[in-house]
Subunit: 349 residues, 2 copies
Amino acid sequence: MSSSTPAVPHGAAPTEPPKTCKVILADTIAKKMLSEVQTTLSAIQLPRRPTLSAFLANSDPHAYQYAEWSKKTCEEQGFSFNLIKVDKESLEEAIIAANNDPSVDGILVYYPIWPANQSHQDRYIQETVSLAKDVEGLCHTHLFNMYHNIRFLDPPTNLKKSILPCTPLAIVKALEHLQIYNPILAYGNRLYGKTITVINRSEVNGRPLAALLANDGATVYSVDITGVQLFTRGSGIKALRHQVVDKPDLTLEDVLPLSDVVIGGVPTEKFKVPTELLREGAVCINFSSFRNFDGAAVKEKASIYVPSIGKVTIAVLLRNLVRLISNSPRQEGTSDDAQKAREGAFTDD
Amino acid sequence: MSSSTPAVPHGAAPTEPPKTCKVILADTIAKKMLSEVQTTLSAIQLPRRPTLSAFLANSDPHAYQYAEWSKKTCEEQGFSFNLIKVDKESLEEAIIAANNDPSVDGILVYYPIWPANQSHQDRYIQETVSLAKDVEGLCHTHLFNMYHNIRFLDPPTNLKKSILPCTPLAIVKALEHLQIYNPILAYGNRLYGKTITVINRSEVNGRPLAALLANDGATVYSVDITGVQLFTRGSGIKALRHQVVDKPDLTLEDVLPLSDVVIGGVPTEKFKVPTELLREGAVCINFSSFRNFDGAAVKEKASIYVPSIGKVTIAVLLRNLVRLISNSPRQEGTSDDAQKAREGAFTDD
């Protein structure tokens, strides 16, 4: 047969294109992590329910809502969650008591407590939490390790992973789920070649996130009202950890069109990422409790859209708690299997 | 314990960064495909060795070398490979004889045959090969389907996959292996958001490759000595198939810095991709029989480098041959299992 009589009538094309934007819900990513947490929790054989003490000393409705969600998820997952409301003045004593209470595995504090004086009083409280119970990774040693790309608390043994802050780690886990981290590349370099804009540079979320992504090899534009900073490991990502340079000549409008991934964390209703400046097929992730993206418009332009991250953050909180328990000194009566499981907990990151 | 006595001496950073460029050899990708070919071949239960007839009517040393490699791989894989040397004048008759020989499953011709007159005499020979034996996907119906993003020969039944040209499909398979195709996205859109430069726009390799990548959602800059063309499915990849526009104002120097992936196919020793214009962490693939990249330099700048693709092309040749056999009308004595296997052959693309 000669192809001058074609086997298919010309023009018989697919009748409609596949949907172009994939919307990924936090729930999908969180479920995967929670089952990993359950597997690890049963392997480490803790003789009691793991226990988190959460201190609410402010009146931020978002903090209260997040606390309620956390309590619900914790209890569904077989964890104990003590929500402790205290006034600001009693907070330090209450934390010290929890530091010394062997039935408490992790300590969580809702910030800000002194909005007018975060850099001092809130930081002081963060240091009051025992490193061994710092489930949020906000103690100086945890922060130092994160910024310096040091992944273990016990070099050179390297069995005790350093704790990373929950929301930034939740976004890293989301980017792994979305395969933006390329597993073909060496661990520690899997974002090499990716350009990412992070809108928000708070000490709790935006700055640590930019540092984590740059430490993993990305070119990161960190944007806030004070301007743009570039976080990278330098040309050819030869540096061991990220470096930061101010980019006074750049604006959000300049960096959005360059970005494979755009991450919004602006805590206001008013702010929206200008959709028309997004790169075709960009990956868009919102971690603000407000919607930083115009959902309808972004679905016409993005390849992947993650409208919220909160449920992943709570899954990371439990993951961090199980990691703290795994890091704790071996107790009498811990089996060798359980000890081995503790040393191998979450070795994937 | 308070973290004012840190658990880790500050500055205990990893001692050296992981290697930044991953070099992936064609062999790695080819082995994976060949084992898939073997699995499918045994499932379709062909009662004899699948047979490829390859016609060599030119004196190009690269064609001869490629023929020798193909023969070796074919025979290692349990295929018969008839290398038939003919003069140009007898080629058409020889192909017609192979078209009509039931013991021949696929036909391969080494081009160019009339370098001065490829567009007419070579095209005429490509149409002489039976569609049912066109293992290179060069018959008009196969080319038409590829350019129109039509994936089957038998709509609406859609059991017989249309054949794609070997080298372009080999590069698609390489990009899948490198996870540049994002499996999170819908099949058919998995390159959405990726910008790719293809240097070479030959009818045999560069133009079909640019079309395949754009049909899968990429923004593709096709570059050759006559200039730059942009292949895309339009804003939001809403179109069913790629469109092409000339970009008279753009040069290779303009598009390299924009490209996540750079694919070189320039058939000369002299040409080198200017490394300094590559994006940090770019993915670089060479399919020319010459080295289009400066290997030492590119390893300092790229995240992934694939120095050659030839072995993958040969694996695709065998894959296409098994696909042709699977597409052929059911023979007497073919078991239902074998028929089912034929209908399900290589359903991943």
